[in-house]
Symmetry: C2
Subunit: 355 residues, 2 copies
Amino acid sequence: MTDLLNKTISAIEWLDYRLMEKIQKRLDNLTKPQGSLGRLEELAKHIAGIIGKEKVSLKHKVIFTLAGDHGVTAEGVSAYPKEVTPQMVYNFLRGGAGINVLARQTGARVVVVDMGVASELRIADCQMRNFRDYKINLGTDNFTKGPAMSRADAVKSVECGIKLVEDEYPKGMDIVGTGDMGIGNTTPSAAITAVLTGQPIETVTGRGTGLDDVGLSRKIAIIKKGLEINKPNPKDVIDVLDKVGGYEIGGIAGLILGAAARRVPVVIDGFISGAGALMATAMAPQVRDFIIASHCSVEIGHKAALFRMGLTPLLDLNLRLGEGTGAALAMNLCESAIRILNEMATFGEAGVSEK
Amino acid sequence: MTDLLNKTISAIEWLDYRLMEKIQKRLDNLTKPQGSLGRLEELAKHIAGIIGKEKVSLKHKVIFTLAGDHGVTAEGVSAYPKEVTPQMVYNFLRGGAGINVLARQTGARVVVVDMGVASELRIADCQMRNFRDYKINLGTDNFTKGPAMSRADAVKSVECGIKLVEDEYPKGMDIVGTGDMGIGNTTPSAAITAVLTGQPIETVTGRGTGLDDVGLSRKIAIIKKGLEINKPNPKDVIDVLDKVGGYEIGGIAGLILGAAARRVPVVIDGFISGAGALMATAMAPQVRDFIIASHCSVEIGHKAALFRMGLTPLLDLNLRLGEGTGAALAMNLCESAIRILNEMATFGEAGVSEK
């Protein structure tokens, strides 16, 4: 590992438990039966404990949508052609995708990142503001024929995620959401999830954008082949990323580490972000406390990933779009939680009798 | 039943299935794998089918928080004194309660209604704008000693709910949320739920604002006594409301009927609203299609009520506050769903390849 990665990991501290006790007292003193706002109350306390400040505001919300392509799509693992990856990047930058719609609603800015799209993007000048070029390569290599990337590029992808946080932090970043775009990326995510949770491939591999039964069987066989050929070492996260990963997945791992090091709550999206989070928590177990799980994806492997990390998702709405859409929806709940903490009257203020 | 109630029930039509097919086609044409936004897509289609217009906007959101007191509190069924009901009404009108905070976030106006608070309220002139006086009585009677109210007042409470919709509709009402406030009101709600779902009292009675085990046993015994003494007829909803109901619960049933008659989607809150919805759907089964279940309450009887109506809640956040707080949170998801429908680019518009 390199300096930036090591420095970031060692900068990650603990939640501020003393502050969280104080927040609990305030929550218990608001005009409602104690605990009656359930997970919203836990969320408020959690967010305050991450940020480490008594007065929390979630004014500046950022969602990073990281894009990358995957050599393994040559094996026919996706229902969509890989041209869709750059086409969707353009869609993100024009504001027409699902993530744009939901981010506008929650008041988050969307930062679109090329981590390894398999074509040279032509971004209009007026759209550069929301775009970051961290392209490592023109897509990964086909992992059924050898490693998906070099070890150096695996480290680089994680470090790019850290740098994204560092670049963006000065512009205001009270909470971060992770998102992904990459045709075929449920395949490397399933491979990573299988290795890092120890689950059989079959129980962590889903239909992605819409495979039929035959397609699903083929996808499972391809992942099996990739793991047999590459033999990723489950004790060495960078090796797993190198052998069967994706640039955007490594980038998400880096985002999570970078945000945690800055005490910024990270709302993770679905299956791809879950694979990134598995890598981040394997590198630095204490990072788990800085993660908020937005939703439970339709992709079956996501449950195993969340269970491995001990995270309980806020939403369960049968989502499987990615892009950060689930994270955007959950940011609304984070906002609700913090507003409850900041705006509700106490029993004393409102003149309401207690038990 | 009276004219207003009969007229309202017979005005309730069906969802617009032809329009819903059209909406499905649009959803399938947006830049995402078909169905990948899961319940958000179903919700968009559902809301459009209720409203019956192709261009849906949820600009005008209204949450009704109906307050009433309960004679059965004399038996010690709640952890809080009944003075809290009017105190919370004042808190609602000053904007300091949970429902105010969450309604502000989702952009809903809160209309606070006195359906039967057990004291004369003194509302400041400046707060009258958000207040409606539909007081039927100074609280219900203790249902362990006879009926909670007269049959005429039971009908009146439902009709007040209908009138609330009629009064408010001209001011703009694209979607409605139901909410409640009333110390002790999980007791009549459990009684109603037991009668209308056919479940044993024990399986639909919870801890309300925080009873211990002894308190819970006593609450169950009190409900049992109430049902034995009053013998409400499960085939006659008004008899059930009359014998073991509450004014705010009847009012919620009326709100649901009135909104459905106007083709306004109704987002129901938790256990108390669920009891009101059970009554509304027993009076007019087709009203069920106009209801959106916001969340699954901690109160165990709510599951039975939702199951009886065939409704699947959007959220499961361990809430048990009432007031309409769950409805306010779910309105955010309704807004998300409609924004997806209205704002996302199609494959054609965005130049994205299909499968």
